[in-house]
Subunit: 200 residues, 2 copies
Amino acid sequence: MNKPLEFWFEFASTYSYPAAMRVEEACIGAKVDLIWRPFLLGPVFAQQGMTDSPFNIFPVKGAYMWRDLERVCAAQGLNLRKPSSFPRGSLLAARICAAFDQSDWVGSFIRAVYDANFAMDLDIGEAKVLEDLLDALGQDPETVITEAQSPENKKKLKTMTEEAIERGVFGAPIMIIGEEVFWGNDRLEAAISWAVGGRE
Amino acid sequence: MNKPLEFWFEFASTYSYPAAMRVEEACIGAKVDLIWRPFLLGPVFAQQGMTDSPFNIFPVKGAYMWRDLERVCAAQGLNLRKPSSFPRGSLLAARICAAFDQSDWVGSFIRAVYDANFAMDLDIGEAKVLEDLLDALGQDPETVITEAQSPENKKKLKTMTEEAIERGVFGAPIMIIGEEVFWGNDRLEAAISWAVGGRE
């Protein structure tokens, strides 16, 4: 019996982009249940004493990351246009995912948001951008966003971010199988092997 | 015509261990010239405002790294015993590599030092430990260490560390082909492909 794979992700996170674009297909191929786990990196980095992306705090690391991401995306056949502002505000998109994490369109929405952020350089922090994506997926933007902004759902995302920190999430993307933690797009295959192997 | 691969490494660096153990064999297999590039991470981290290993500064990241390194080493068939002190002092070992980077035994010495540090939990900061490794390789410890501690060679290693920083080295291991930079044990295959592809 394969174990489910929790995919912890943040829409502003660069390496979450190539991982998010392929995780659902990879899980289906391996017959592993995928659990989408949106959270916010801001509070996670704040716990580590950082008030910005480490890629902005350490410019040499940031320059490397953008070049490396170019190579990774090229190898995966993904378009990449460096966002003109980084990191983009991800709060509303994350709230939508938290509210609709059980819906049959959440995977498509997640990929559309990453595409908007990293391939089209759209400001995913703007409600209008997300409304257009929801509309293209056949969802009613107003209904979805009202639900996403409800006090209950705001609390749900906050609780998920607290759970992330408690369970050892320190960056994104992070895959968790049971208590086994895998960090980064590079570890997706290892995480799936772990889920399939069913190792404790 | 394949391009040479520069392997920038630090003996205290955890992910340099699995990379250093396989880089020479991988380069020989791909007919890529390997250039060993010892340097010190201390001054590199100091430039980023850190006075210790980031794995010590951020305990949650450190805990993850040790677990991940266990998995990586197991997959590579390498023994791993967490060093009882981390990071170990690497200055003398790095000086030996800098002095003898053209010798036919430098690769074997490098692997022996990593094995001592990460598989045997020996203090590679102690001259006696390195003397035993040199002796086992058929080298005269006193001659080698005298040469390594010469003012010219001390300056050589210092200059190499400065060159590392200038060329965008911010961690270890880092592979450089021409001006293309690859960070981490995970990127060794990509670096070799780049060297073979001869891409500018």
